[in-house]
């Protein structure tokens, strides 16, 4: 074989998919080992750009005419096989010639046959041969990620490769590292090697901050990249630490931590819990086209919110309302801490109308925390006929479960005064409990400090005592 012939043969040998497909599915090269002495006999195009890479069917028919040999049904491929190799036979031949000089002895078999293989025992390109020639000592998928671009063009430059084939590509060994998906890949992402298999669409599937990442934006868009299986991402170990919930707000606010949060989190992530938008929320991007949907946050009930939390939350809320505000808005407080007459039971059990006398009288909680007891209670009590309409004792005894209740109501009144005033007014009590013009029963009991009260608001004293307010003995 002449020297150019070797070069052509070598170039042809690297045309992996093309030749391999023919060898695998069509032409049986070993069977013809004794017929052909040169690759370029059939594959002239590998050496001469103007010539066809494959023989014509008529060339085969020279032997396979039905007489000498049986006829065969074969036709060259209509178009070159899809490939992402940074390669043409001509350019590769030129490169070899330029590097090694015009006396280069690179032959087709250098790439298309195992070392020492018999003549025409060709196969797809032996990748190790390619790597060895190009100075890469590791096996194909164990080669450094930076080496990919040596032989491969970016995915977007290989538009004919189908998604199914992309999906079948095996990941390099570097991608198997435990922290590769969670963060390790970022350190390797500089350069074009990633683009061999990936495109911007793939990165944007996870990266919320894809539009802001220069490395990602340097990639072309190509939806076929989504054919590669996405990694299963787990929350970082830091997110599982005990104090994370309490500390994460400060992390968001402390750059460059804010940038790290923005890799996985959008403003919507925050909104899963933070019903009121915190100021720092603006450091994160808003979900939208071109960026990942962001980590899905499940709003969890804090450990402190136990079964009786509706009754016990007051102390906690009082101790640090800012903590509550992290997840709750005032509107939520108002759902219970304000009468909404038209709404069905919220804080209270269903049909609290029937239940409320028990709860109110025993003062399990303070009705006044949410209701204006004058307005709220008396509105109905007045219409229900249980508000006194005359001087007490002059008509019926409403509290008829206790005989002579009017004469012995003192203990009940001091214990449940808040309930009494939902039906009774000051007038009712002043009928007897006043120092002037009544029966002058003393209403003052334990804890009463006349001097102190008179000093704070003597008007209250004047209601019963007029201008002559007695002082403490």
């Amino acid at each position: 074989m002449t020297r150019p012939g070797w070069l052509v043969a070598a170039a042809l040998a690297v045309a992996v998919p093309v030749v391999a497909r023919v060898a695998d599915k069509g032409f049986d090269h070993p069977q013809h080992a004794k017929v052909f002495v040169s690759c370029s006999t059939c594959h002239r195009g590998a050496a001469e750009p103007s010539a066809a890479l494959y023989p014509r069917p008529a060339d085969c028919a020279a032997c396979h005419d039905g007489t000498v040999e049986k006829r065969v049904d074969w036709a060259p491929p209509a178009k070159p096989h899809a490939s992402n190799l940074r390669f043409t036979h001509q350019s590769h031949a030129d490169a070899v010639r330029k590097r090694d000089g015009s006396d280069s002895t690179l032959a087709c078999a250098s790439c298309h046959a195992e070392k020492g293989a018999p003549w025409m025992t060709v196969r797809r390109a032996v990748v190790d041969n390619c790597l060895a020639c190009h100075g890469v000592t590791a096996a194909h998928l164990e080669a450094p990620d930076t080496a990919c671009a040596t032989c491969h063009v970016p995915l977007w430059k290989a538009p004919d490769i189908a998604e199914a084939r992309i999906a079948s590509w095996k990941a390099p060994a570097s991608h198997q590292a435990p922290d590769f998906a969670a963060g390790g890949h970022g350190k390797l992402a500089e350069g074009q090697s990633c683009a061999t298999c990936h495109a911007r669409d793939y990165c944007a599937t996870c990266h919320v901050d894809a539009p802001e990442q220069r490395t990602i934006q340097a990639l072309q868009a190509d939806h076929r990249a989504l054919a590669i299986k996405l990694p299963e991402l787990e929350e970082p170990a830091s997110h599982r630490e005990a104090g994370f919930l309490k500390q994460h707000g400060r992390m968001v606010g402390a750059k460059p931590e804010a940038g790290r949060c923005a890799v996985c989190h959008t403003q919507e992530s925050c909104a899963a819990c933070h019903l009121a938008p915190p100021e720092r929320l603006r450091l994160l991007p808003v979900a939208g086209p071109g960026r990942g949907a962001g980590a899905k946050i499940e709003r969890r009930r804090p450990a402190s919110h136990g079964i009786d939390f509706s009754d016990a939350h007051g102390a906690l809320a009082s101790a640090r309302s800012a903590t509550c505000a992290g997840c709750h808005t005032q509107e939520q407080c108002l759902e219970c801490h304000r009468p909404n007459a038209a709404a069905q039971a919220g804080y209270h059990p269903r049909d609290f109308l029937a239940r409320h006398p028990v709860a109110a009288y025993s003062q399990e909680v303070s009705c006044g925390n949410c209701h204006n007891t004058s307005q709220f209670c008396q509105t109905c009590h007045r219409q229900a006929g249980i508000v006194p309409t005359a001087v007490l004792g002059a008509k019926a005894n409403f509290h008829d479960a206790k005989g002579s209740f009017l004469l012995g109501h003192g203990q009940a009144a001091r214990q449940s005064l808040e309930t009494c005033v939902t039906c009774h007014t000051e007038r009712d009590c002043l009928t007897c409990h006043a120092a002037q013009g009544s029966r002058r029963f003393n209403p003052h009991g334990p804890g009463f400090d006349p001097t102190r009260l008179a000093g704070k608001n003597s008007q209250m004293c004047s209601v019963c005592h007029g201008a002559t307010i007695p002082t403490a003995p």
């Binding site: 005990a242 909104a271 009121a276 100021e279 808003v286 499940e298 402190s304 136990g306 079964i307 102390a315 906690l316 101790a319 640090r320 005032q330 801490h337 009468p339 909404n340 007459a341 709404a343 069905q344 239940r355 006398p357 028990v358 109110a360 009288y361 399990e364 303070s366 006044g368 204006n372 307005q375 509105t379 007045r382 219409q383 006929g385 002059a394 008509k395 409403f398 509290h399 479960a401 206790k402 005989g403 209740f405 012995g408 109501h409 203990q411 005064l417 007014t425 007038r427 009590c429 003052h444 009991g445 334990p446 400090d449 009260l453 704070k456 608001n457 008007q459 209250m460 209601v463 019963c464």
Partner: protein
């Protein structure tokens, strides 16, 4: 970076439209974020009370127990000063249908970082023949303030509600907070014209005085201050609040409160707090409790004291209301996944009232008990059964609550429930036995739009040995719609279903 929707799409509130049209359009409009929650609620409801009646004293006769009985069988009271005897006959059935709508609006991104507007208003109408509690006035403006918030500063001006251990204080005024995040310190001060307790109107409004009692002729001044210190293991807070009757320049109230939470170890918390009434010189309500919560067990044990609070413009503080002291505990346990047992107990006893009466004996202690079980082992189903018992001072009750909740999809929940309650009325010779069953449907059409429908049948039997005994029933219907609108990134979802399926501490499961 921003991909917010245009301001005026999706029926943005008029306020936003006004902002934009007022010259804030363009760059500002592109930055404005807003969120509005619109709620519509309706229910039909009825109640039945008493009607005072009388007969000439000559027309009553001794009943089986010796007391006076009218010819129609009513137990009567015959005052010695009157020639008539009086009695209560069952009152008319009062029906009404309160309809309410509320809007809660938050607007931010107004061109000044940290500036936001907040509003909260409600409109309530009565469609029945009687007034219903809380429906007056028709339009209720609860909150409307501008807020400027930075990491170390928070300033509000307008109508706002300040919530603290001392209760909810509504006022028209200003509030400011300074924070030092490093050491976890914060100081808050507020000042303004006060609103009536738990109301959207001032104390001068007739709305909060249906019986025509004395009320201050002018709105109170209200002022207060709060200091807070927060660390990873503790939160401490001290509050002071004073109200001044402007008409008399006298004190209406002045109180001090302290509260704190300690978190000594993971899953453990100790909370405590107390109030002191500076005006009266007496201690108010207080509590202290220890909490433990993990994935399997939740428990708390504590003490609390309750003493009602009255403003000094009324006479009630001089009537010396007494406090009760209680010990209480609660526990819940999840022995196997999907089964939770819960229980709660409280014993309370009033302090000495110093009002002995040989004629009337009134209990001075009581207890509250509840227990229940919730089963969620079947996917989409939740079964709940609970029992409550109150043994109290002048009032008690016991009853069962049962419910079955079916959640076939994350967006829909159907619940059937039934309850019983036996409740001797407080200080009245009258037992009531109530039974009710109902159905409730919640449907979340979209994350921002949901509605609910409910039906409830109630039967009440008021048992007396005289003609005043009666039984009656009513069917109630409830309907509600919630719609959340907002700019992109501001749409807020409700609680996830997983949380909603947790044992409820409100509603029927409580």
């Amino acid at each position: 970076m921003s991909t917010r929707r245009p301001l005026l799409c999706s029926g943005a509130p008029l306020l936003l439209a006004a902002l934009v049209s007022a010259g804030a359009a363009g760059p500002l409009a592109a930055q404005v974020g807003y969120r509005a929650t619109v709620d519509l609620d309706m229910q039909t409801v009825a109640f039945r009370g008493w009607t005072l009646d009388s007969v000439p004293a000559a027309q009553v006769s001794p009943g089986p127990t010796g007391g006076p009985l009218t010819s129609s069988g009513y137990a009567a009271t015959c005052p010695s000063v009157s020639t008539f005897c009086f009695f209560y006959r069952p009152g008319d059935r009062q029906t009404t249908a309160p309809v309410g709508g509320s809007v809660a609006l938050t607007v931010w991104g107004l061109g000044v970082p940290g500036l936001s507007l907040h509003g909260n208003a409600r409109m309530l109408l009565n469609a029945g023949n009687v007034d219903w509690a809380g429906t007056d006035p028709t339009f209720q403006f609860w909150e409307g303030y501008a807020e400027y918030e930075r990491s170390a500063l928070d300033f509000r001006v307008g109508r706002q509600i300040f919530r603290s251990r001392l209760g909810s204080a509504g006022f028209d005024g200003v509030q400011g907070t300074l924070r030092a995040r490093g050491p976890g310190l914060a100081a808050t001060g507020y000042f303004g014209f006060g609103l009536a307790q738990s109301a959207s109107v001032p104390i001068t409004s007739d709305v909060v005085n249906p019986l025509g009692e004395f009320r201050p002729p002018e709105r109170n001044w209200i002022m207060g201050a709060v200091g807070a210190w927060s660390t990873a293991a503790s939160d401490l807070r001290v509050e002071w609040q004073r109200e001044v009757d402007r008409a008399s320049a006298k004190l209406a109230s002045e109180r001090l409160a302290g509260s704190g939470t300690l978190r000594p170890a993971r899953n453990w918390a100790l909370t405590a707090g107390a109030e002191y009434n500076l005006a009266e010189g007496v201690w108010g309500s207080a509590d202290a409790s220890l909490h433990y919560t993990d994935d399997v067990v939740g428990a708390s044990f504590g003490y609390r004291r309750y003493r009602p609070f009255f403003d000094l413009w009324s006479i009630w503080a001089a009537f010396s209301p007494v406090a009760y002291n209680a010990v209480l505990g609660s526990a819940s346990i999840t022995p196997v996944a999907g089964v939770q047992l819960r229980g709660r107990a409280e014993y309370y006893k009033y302090e000495a009232a110093d009002a002995p009466s040989p004629l009337v004996s009134v209990e001075n202690d009581g207890s509250r008990w509840s227990a229940g079980i919730r089963v969620t082992r079947l996917r989409g189903w939740a079964f709940d059964l609970g029992y409550d018992l109150d043994k109290g001072v002048g009032a008690r009750g016991d009853g069962w609550d049962a419910s079955v909740r079916w959640t076939p999809t994350p967006r829909m929940a159907l619940q059937a429930f039934g309850s019983t309650l036996d409740r001797p009325l407080e200080l009245r010779f009258d037992d009531a036995r109530v039974r009710w069953v109902g159905l409730d449907l919640d449907f979340r059409v979209r994350p921002d739009f949901s509605f609910g429908l409910g039906g409830l049948y109630v039967h009440e039997d008021r048992q007396r040995p005289d003609a005043a005994a009666f039984d009656w029933n009513q069917a109630r219907i409830t309907a509600r719609v919630r719609y959340v609108i907002g700019s992109r990134g501001a749409d807020r979802l409700g609680l996830p279903r997983a949380v909603e399926r947790m044992p409820s501490v409100t509603g029927s499961g409580r």
